[in-house]
């Protein structure tokens, strides 16, 4: 049996890969993709904990279920927002959306 820690390392690695993408990607859509990666790593956590530690109840599983649903909704709204932004500034480069600062 694979120890729990291994799975957690995997999810953590995925988490930070996603975070790296979120920090460095300049296309807003790719940033969104990075967010999805992060959320997935969380899901792995939940499932792994549920499976390994607390299998008598399915709280982790349900939580990840809801996360998936919300992630989808969030993605949809985010894409709508990105498209709207694209219409306004003709760009999806996050660097060009820094009108407001300081």
């Amino acid at each position: 049996m694979i120890p729990l820690h291994y799975i957690l390392f995997l999810s953590t690695a995925l988490f930070f890969i996603g975070m790296y993408g979120l920090f460095t990607r300049r296309n807003i859509i790719t940033i969104l993709m990075s967010v999805e990666l992060i959320l997935n790593s969380v899901n792995i956590n939940f499932i792994a904990f549920n499976k390994y530690l607390y299998p008598d109840r399915l709280e982790g599983l349900f939580f990840s279920l809801f996360i998936i649903a919300i992630a989808a909704a969030e993605a949809a709204v985010a894409i709508a927002i990105i498209i709207n932004l694209y219409r306004n500034i003709r760009s999806v480069d996050v660097e060009s959306a820094d009108d407001m600062k300081f």
Partner: protein
């Protein structure tokens, strides 16, 4: 003294006059203001004379055993259970004497001013101020409490300020008034701190108890160790009080305001800056005489300051050309006389005669001086009115035009020079004999000063009334101006015959010394010598004065410039205090203290500008900071704080 309510009248009438004329004079009484003021003061004078008569005539057979009465005492301001300013009236020989002097001279000046100040725009104000001054001065002399004295002391100062600055549109008058006030104020600081020290040591402010507590043998603070510069605290208190007195009495080195104060109307000079206010210092020392005589150190301070002032002022007076300034320096010199007389007590060998002779002489001289000096000033006023100048060179040969003033002036000059039988002779004689017994060196100075006095007074006399050929007709002089001259001249001539030493002793032995013996000869001779030189130099116009001046060039120039003391003061105040303290203080306040406060604001703004980059407008940076925030918190609180 039963039934003494009228004593209060002496005080209240002048202040009533002040209030009346001050509030309504400008609008309503106008031309009558003088008459009102004079009338009120006249009543006051009568009361004062009556009080003095009752007091000195006494009801005991022994005229010398007089009591000290404290009347109408009431707490005015309480500083604590055992310390309070009690307002009260103190009647003892010297205060009884002083109220006579003050009211009489003041009355004379009031009357004189009726003519002299007629037509002045601020006629009412003038009389109001005179009323205020008279009130304050009377209050000063009648105080039963050292703080009460201080209160009236300050009031006297401010009346003096107001009267010197009476011609307020004259910048010189304004400057003189300011100078007078500030210099005396500075001296008063000493007085104040002196009061603080004395009252703290004695646990009282009342004169009687103050003297008692401090001089009682068992717990005399004089046995305490020195606190500062080798003197015990009470000595310092007394010296500081003396500084206050010296300031008001224009003693060296605080005399610089007095000559300038001559910018005031001449009758004011006669009243305040010759006869009454300036002797307040002497009076103060006399009031605390039992304390001032307790230690040698204090006595020496009094002695030497008095002597130096007397000599210095006399020397300067010889060179001055402004008639009023000459008189001012002469006043200073005479006050120096009175002062050092008060400082002789401790120098007497214990076996010798009553050591209070100096005290008596001083008071006596104060009394006589008031008359002849006021007379001199009033005469000067008459002269100045005539020639419209203060400078001696504009005068000369006035004996025909001003015959009355001429006679009076001469009497006063003789009196001040100490020529018998004029009043000055007697009083000066007592001082000189005190000096003789106390210290020969001082006696020499006194004697020399006496000669100088005769010289410069007669220099003045000759320059004004002789020197040039007498021309013109007798100047018509209003009666109100003549009467005071005559009265004062009588006083100046005959006041010396009052048996002063009998009157002045409180509860002690009558003075043994009363007769005038051989020791009166040298002063008279010296005085005559002085008169002779003055006559030789100034009786007629000649170049002798210039030659004499040239002979003593260095001394003459220094004296002419008042030994550069004014300049020294100016240097200290303008250059040092203004430039080195005031200006830096103002600068520091604006730039450093306030700068610090503003700097806080600027620094905040600068920090704000520096960190603005955090808010870069890029969402990824925000996320980065977000994560770094978490990581930082985690590291900090998991690994460092725990």
């Amino acid at each position: 003294m039963p039934n003494t309510a009228y004593i209060l009248l002496i005080l209240l009438l002048p202040v009533f006059g002040f209030a009346l004329l001050g509030l309504f004079g400008r609008r309503y009484t106008r031309g009558f203001s003088g008459v009102i003021g004079t009338a009120l003061l006249f009543v006051s004078t009568l009361c004062a004379l009556y009080v003095a008569y009752k007091y000195f005539s006494g009801n005991t057979g022994m005229p010398a055993l007089r009591h000290t009465y404290t009347l109408f005492e009431a707490a005015w301001l309480s500083f604590g259970p055992d310390l309070s300013i009690n307002m009260g009236v103190l009647i003892d020989p010297i205060s009884a004497m002083m109220i006579v002097v003050v009211t009489v001279i003041s009355l004379m000046v009031h009357v004189f001013s009726l003519g002299y100040m007629k037509g002045e725009e601020r006629y009412s104000t003038y009389y109001a101020f005179l009323g205020l001054f008279t009130f304050s001065m009377l209050g000063l002399v009648l105080s039963s409490n050292i703080f009460e004295t201080y209160i009236f002391w300050e009031l006297v100062g401010v009346s003096s300020f107001l009267l010197i600055g009476f011609y307020y549109d004259r910048p010189t008058a304004v400057a003189a008034a300011k100078k007078a006030f500030i210099v005396t104020r500075f001296a008063d600081l000493g007085f104040l701190i002196g009061i603080l020290i004395l009252s703290f040591q004695a646990h009282t402010l009342d004169f009687g108890r103050l003297i008692n507590n401090l001089s009682s043998f068992e717990h005399s603070p004089f046995t305490e160790p020195p606190v500062f510069l080798g003197l015990p605290l009470v000595d310092w208190g007394l010296i500081l009080v003396f500084i206050g007195g010296a300031g008001k009495s224009a003693l060296f080195p605080l005399h610089i305001w007095l000559p300038d104060a001559m910018e005031g109307p001449t009758p004011v000079s006669a009243l305040i800056h010759a006869a009454t206010m300036v002797v307040a210092g002497v009076y103060l020392v006399a009031r605390l005489y039992p304390l001032f005589t307790l230690t040698l150190d204090v006595q020496q301070v009094v002695l030497y300051v008095g002597a130096i002032s007397a000599l210095l002022a006399a020397v300067i007076a010889c060179t001055q050309t402004d008639i009023k300034r000459v008189l001012a320096y002469s006043t200073m010199s005479q006050i120096g006389y009175m002062m050092f007389a008060l400082g002789t007590y401790r120098l007497f060998p214990p076996s010798l005669v009553d050591p209070k002779i100096g005290f008596i002489g001083s008071m006596f001289h104060l009394f006589t001086h008031a008359f002849f000096k006021a007379l001199l000033f009033l005469c000067a006023g008459v002269i100045i009115h005539l020639v419209h100048s203060n400078e001696m060179k504009d005068m000369g040969g006035l004996r025909k035009q001003l015959p009355l003033a001429h006679i009076c002036f001469l009497i006063a000059c003789l009196a001040i020079s100490g020529i018998p039988p004029f009043s000055g002779f007697f009083s000066k004689e007592e001082i000189l004999s005190a000096a003789w017994r106390a210290d020969r060196f001082i006696y020499t100075i006194a004697l020399f000063t006496s000669g100088l006095t005769a010289f410069y007074m007669f220099r003045l006399y000759f320059s004004v009334f002789w020197n040039k050929p007498a021309t013109g007709h007798p100047h018509a002089q209003p009666l109100v101006e003549s009467i005071p001259l005559v009265i004062l001249a009588i006083g100046a001539a005959f006041a010396g015959f009052i048996p002063f030493s009998h009157l002045l002793i409180v509860g002690g032995h009558p003075s043994v010394h009363s007769s005038i013996g051989l020791n009166a000869v040298p002063p008279v001779l010296i005085a005559l010598l002085g008169i002779g030189i003055a006559a030789w130099l100034y009786y007629k116009q000649s170049d002798r004065p210039q030659k004499a001046a040239a002979a003593f060039r260095g001394l003459y120039t220094a004296a002419y410039h008042k030994f550069y003391i004014d300049e020294l003061y100016l240097f200290v105040t303008k250059k040092i205090i203004f430039n080195c303290i005031g200006r830096p203080a103002a600068w520091i306040d604006r730039n450093i203290v306030d700068g610090l406060m503003n700097g806080l604001a600027t620094a905040t703004a600068r920090i704000s500008a520096t960190i603005k980059g955090i808010q870069s407008g890029r969402v990824q940076d925000y996320a980065w900071f977000f994560f770094v925030g978490i990581a930082g918190l985690a590291i900090l609180f998991i690994y460092i704080v725990k």
